[in-house]
Amino acid sequence: MILLAITIARQPQELPKVFRRARSQLVVFGVRLPLAILSAAFISMLVPPDAVVPYVGPESGFIGILAAVAFGAVIPGGPILTFPLALVVWRSGAGQAQMIALLASWSVFAVHRIISYELPMLGPRFVALKLTSSGWLPIIAGLIAMGVLALWPQ
């Protein structure tokens, strides 16, 4: 609401553009999300919790973080696919720190983005430098989360 007020005050001529942009995004989401959410509901019935909890459950610790990072790194898609999938893992009993490592890993590696944007626009050397400097950081994010959760019990 505050943002809306600022926009109206500063750039009223931008408003139609804002709504067009929001609407075209929402139409795409509106068609795909129900499908993705339904798939997630189906898949979570098919995935037994035993297949998730021992690997990335709250008690899985550092190994669980490594497993989550490995899993996150190979998710080849945008958020419409990833978040319903993450919801499946989450509901099957994944730990919060492991979930954070998974999402961080997905966002840092993002195979689809490397192929379609980073390689063509920024070049292989940039991608190599990016992966060496940030590829191990999802593990750090998971460890920070473990630390925060230990200090700040739910």
Binding site: L4, L33, L38, I140
Partner: protein
């Protein structure tokens, strides 16, 4: 309005892929649990959709407003002039609040490189946009996993782009194979 169909395609590869996943997993559920299983999944999905989609709509609107408030060229010009650790922190902050998909972010990164920003700033910006992403928090994480998890994820991700930027600058300066000669490439 008559050419609305040409603006964006609703039924494309992504849609077909999702539809296929949905159909296949649905058939498996039907196979294992029969019709009651499918119906209970439909109920879960309907409940989730009612909860998730309005929140996503709100997040998308906030994102669209932010996009119009953050003018890309000005961002690139200002960040390009900064240097060192300060540039990395600033790139991380702006990358985090930068809304929009890759088609918005990548042209900015290229423009930043052209404006003379260090490679560490570029990597900090890219990593902040993808891994910290306030936009992602609003559109995806809070609707799907709740505000508490979203906040924890956000807080734990804040150091990531800063570390990435510092390491990238060090590597680029010291490892010949990873040295970026941005000016020569463009």
């Amino acid at each position: 309005m008559s050419n609305r169909k040409t603006d964006f395609k609703l039924i494309d590869g992504g849609f077909n892929f999702l539809a296929a996943i949905c159909l296949i997993s649905g058939l498996f559920v039907f196979w294992f649990y029969g019709l009651p299983g499918v119906l209970s999944a439909l109920r879960t999905a309907a409940g989730d959709s009612l909860f998730i989609i309005p929140l996503i709509a709100l997040g998308v609107t906030i994102g669209a407003l932010l996009t119009s408030l953050v003018p890309n060229e000005i961002v690139a010009r200002h960040l390009g002039r900064q240097a060192g650790f300060r540039a990395i922190v600033l790139s991380s902050v702006i990358g985090s609040i930068m809304p929009g998909g890759p088609f918005v972010a990548f042209p900015i990164i290229v423009a930043l490189g052209g404006a003379g920003a260090s490679v560490g700033s570029l990597i900090a910006f890219l990593t902040a946009w993808s891994a910290v992403g306030v936009h992602r928090l609003l559109v995806w994480e809070i609707p799907f996993m709740g505000a508490e998890f979203g906040t924890l994820r956000f807080v734990c991700s804040i150091p990531i782009p800063i570390i990435a930027g510092v390491v990238a600058n060090k590597l680029s300066d010291n490892v010949r194979a990873l040295r970026m000669d941005w000016e020569k490439r463009h």
